[in-house]
């Protein structure tokens, strides 16, 4: 089938049936079907007796749609699903919950948990905090990690399936907790906090000469009002920084712990697979457990024995025959005797070409990462919009 040796097969059922698997992180670049995959895994695992919660961070409400819920919120909601009728089925009954990350709510809860009521109120009312916690990109990654940590600590589910934010690159997700740590150690924080503290002046002198210039620039560029708001905000948060740090470290450790499995999701396209490659390499560096690659939307043909070239050749032969029959007028394929066959042959050739192109792209990945197990999910002719569709996706990739 290919010049490159086939990759090991990713046995998804073994992964979800293994009770030691507690967290499955679905990552990959945007538009590769992460959310649908996460939902399909969740449903499949629940049907096989796991108590599952699926956490999505996708603001497009895609998960809710495919699970037949009108919307999801920050609290896990039960997803009713019908048990499959299986002869001799004595598996324990599983359950499925789904939730969507509410970034602001999650952030507010951290603040409330870490600061005394007065200080919490002060932080929550700060315009800088409000904007940051509800609006800006980047906050989402921390809050997703935070929520994952919370769900894990709550210990109400035996499997958490999480779908990573639609960030510019899959790596953002991994970097978020670390970046928070780096930020908290940053000199800028000290710089911003110092003036608000008693005795700040003495500390100020200790800092290097760049300090005065930086404060000057900040005042000039930001204006006094913004700087004051930022300082108030940062110094109010100052007391909880330890807590933030601990949580970030906890989540990072959680990602490395046994029981966590990363699934890299990709489509057979150059961009998606390039991103998948980066991610696989990064996980290796960080010592994080990679379960394998799920390759979505792979085009296959039931008539693969007929090559694209032969198919096109046959279409041409038939068209020539039709042309002669019509007295050499040629004419459109539709009006002629073999129109249907010609159309079928052309479509088949197109599909074979697409399949070949996809195969070439996937081979690059496999050649670079020969030990990464792979499961392929055939392209569905129809979009997934209900549990049955989700189940069909699950069936196809678990059957592999």
């Amino acid at each position: 089938m290919s010049q490159v040796e086939s990759p090991p097969h990713l046995d998804m059922d073994r992964l979800i049936d293994d009770r030691r698997t507690r967290v499955i992180v679905c990552c990959g670049s945007g538009g590769v079907g992460k959310t649908t995959t996460a939902a399909a895994i969740g449903l499949r695992a629940a049907e096989r007796g796991r108590h599952v919660v699926v956490l999505t961070v996708d603001p497009a409400r895609r998960l809710a749609q495919s699970m037949g819920l009108s919307r999801l919120d920050n609290t896990p909601r039960p997803v009713p699903f019908q048990e499959r009728e299986q002869p001799g089925d004595d598996e324990p009954q599983g359950s499925l919950h789904a939730m969507m990350l509410d970034m602001k709510r999650t952030f507010d809860e951290i603040v409330e948990a870490h600061a005394d009521p007065d200080r919490a109120a002060q932080i929550l009312a700060n315009p800088f905090y409000q904007s940051l916690s509800s609006g800006f990109s980047g906050t989402q990654e921390y809050m997703a990690m935070e929520k994952l940590g919370q769900l894990r600590r709550a210990d109400e589910w035996d499997l958490i399936v999480v779908d990573t934010p639609p960030s510019r690159s899959a790596l953002d997700f991994l970097d978020a907790p670390q970046r928070l740590g780096r930020f908290l150690d940053g000199r800028l924080i000290k710089l911003l906090v110092v003036p608000a503290k008693v005795g700040g002046r003495a500390y100020l002198k200790v800092l290097n000469a760049g300090f005065g210039m930086v404060t000057g620039v900040l005042t000039r560029v930001l204006g006094t009002q913004v700087l004051t708001d930022v300082q108030t905000f940062v110094s109010a948060l100052d007391t909880m920084f330890g807590g933030f740090r601990e949580r970030a470290d906890y989540t990072y450790q959680l990602l490395r712990a046994p029981g966590t499995a990363f699934l890299v999701i990709a489509a057979p396209e150059p961009d998606a697979l390039r991103e998948a490659s980066y991610f696989v390499e990064r996980l290796g560096q960080e010592g994080m457990p990679l379960a394998g690659l799920i390759l979505n939307r792979v085009h296959r043909s039931p008539a693969a024995r007929l090559s694209a070239a032969r198919s096109l050749g046959a279409a041409e032969t038939l068209q020539a025959a039709d042309g002669q029959a019509e007295g050499g007028s040629g004419g459109s394929a539709n009006g002629s005797a073999h129109a249907l066959t010609i159309a079928a042959l052309r479509l088949h050739a197109e599909r074979m070409q697409q399949s070949a192109a996809e195969h070439r792209v996937s081979e690059h990945f496999v050649a670079a990462h020969p030990h990464v197990p792979v499961a392929e999910v055939p392209a569905q002719p129809d979009d997934v919009h209900d549990l049955a569709g989700l189940r069909a996706v699950g069936d196809s990739f678990f059957a592999g």
């Binding site: 800028l188 560029v221 024995r305």
Partner: protein, 363 residues
């Protein structure tokens, strides 16, 4: 660096709306759907080919002797890949030439990979002559600050850079006829473009506020349009509809919605009646088998059954696509079909997409 010549200061804000007449200098006799738009923001669900379409649009806009800047803001070097170039630095450089027509000269596409750090340093230098301070800010972790606790600053620096390029003049003339921005995906686009409004809300007075106000004016002006790239699939189409609604109802005022670019459109080989038959699985396998046999292909019966199955899948998909096409008509915006480049996207394919955009009046 051309910065010394850049007329980009707070003083210009008032002048800005008077320069539109200048921007008409290069308009050809040909009408397009977006005459008058100078900042083309291209968004779409991840994976739908935003960068490719942005590149094709830049090429299409450049033909006829125009100068177009194609700008990327997410640091993924997508432009370099689409134009088959090594990674690009933070610098405006020419990357492609639009083809000349029989009566029209070619044009130039410049590319810029904008990153917030460089934009900040540049901004400080331009406004305050504070290049060193910019570097010190960097050392103090200001950019870490921006991307962690205040990522909105990052967005405003990037949109600010686009606004600057759109307004930049040299010798009294606009430097670029159009700027095409390969923007963040639809899920983030409202926030990304509206960020100036958010910053304006944070900073009630001061230089940042003034800067944000300028950027906001550009984003909300009739010279800016946001185009959406999609496939004919449910989820990306839903994102288009959600994105359009979001832009029309932004807190900071609406931002003009542009065209809907339908990417990777496949022509169907089947007639409507054949499609209907295929969709319901009532294809005449026997007819296909006879055809195959006539063409000298063995095993024609079983192969005919498999091909019929493929036809059915194709027809089901086509019916779904038709439904999505109808949904895309809802916002009442122009729609453009971009053909699937079946043998793999390359530079030649990019020029074909550019031609398709021009033929349909998108540029």
């Amino acid at each position: 660096m051309v910065w010394a010549e850049v007329q980009y200061g707070l003083r210009d804000i008032g002048d800005y709306w008077c320069v539109n007449a200048d921007s008409l200098h290069g308009v050809s006799t040909r009408d397009t759907d977006w005459d008058g738009v100078r900042l083309h923001v291209v968004t779409g669900k991840g994976g739908t080919g935003k960068t490719t379409v942005a590149g094709a649009l830049a090429l299409a806009l450049a033909s006829g002797g125009k100068r177009v800047l194609l700008m990327e803001v997410e640091g993924r070097q997508g432009i370099a890949q689409v134009f088959d170039r090594p990674p690009l630095p933070y610098e405006e450089r020419k990357i492609a030439v639009a083809p000349a027509g029989p009566t029209q000269p070619g044009g130039d596409v410049y590319a810029l990979v904008a990153d917030p750090e460089s934009a900040l340093i540049e901004y400080l230098e331009m406004f305050y002559n504070l290049r060193h301070a910019g570097k010190a800010l960097n050392r103090f972790g200001v950019m870490d600050f921006a991307t962690t606790i205040a990522p909105g600053l990052r967005d405003v620096l990037l949109t600010g850079k686009a606004a600057e390029a759109v307004r930049r003049k040299r010798h009294g003339k606009l430097v670029y006829d159009a700027v095409v921005m390969d923007a963040p995906p639809t899920g983030r686009i409202g926030r990304f473009l509206n960020v100036s409004s958010e910053v304006s809300g944070l900073a009630r007075v001061g230089p940042i506020r003034n800067h944000a106000d300028t950027v906001r004016k550009v984003m909300h002006s009739p010279e800016t349009a946001v185009h959406f790239v999609t496939f004919l699939e449910e989820m990306p189409v839903q994102e288009v509809l959600d994105g359009v609604a979001e832009l029309r109802e932004l807190d900071g005022g609406p931002i003009q919605v542009g065209g809907i670019m339908i990417n990777m459109v496949r022509p169907t080989e089947l007639s409507p009646s054949q499609l209907r038959a295929a969709e319901t699985g009532s294809i005449d396998e026997h007819e296909i088998a006879i055809g195959l046999k006539t063409a000298g292909i063995d095993d024609s019966l079983r192969l005919a059954a498999d091909l019929a199955a493929e036809l059915t899948e194709h027809a089901v998909a086509a019916a779904g696509q038709e439904m999505q096409r109808q949904r895309l008509a809802e916002p009442g915006q122009p729609r453009y079909d971009l053909p699937l480049i079946a043998d793999g996207m390359d530079l030649g394919g990019l020029y074909r997409l550019a031609a398709a955009l021009r033929d349909q009046g998108a540029a």
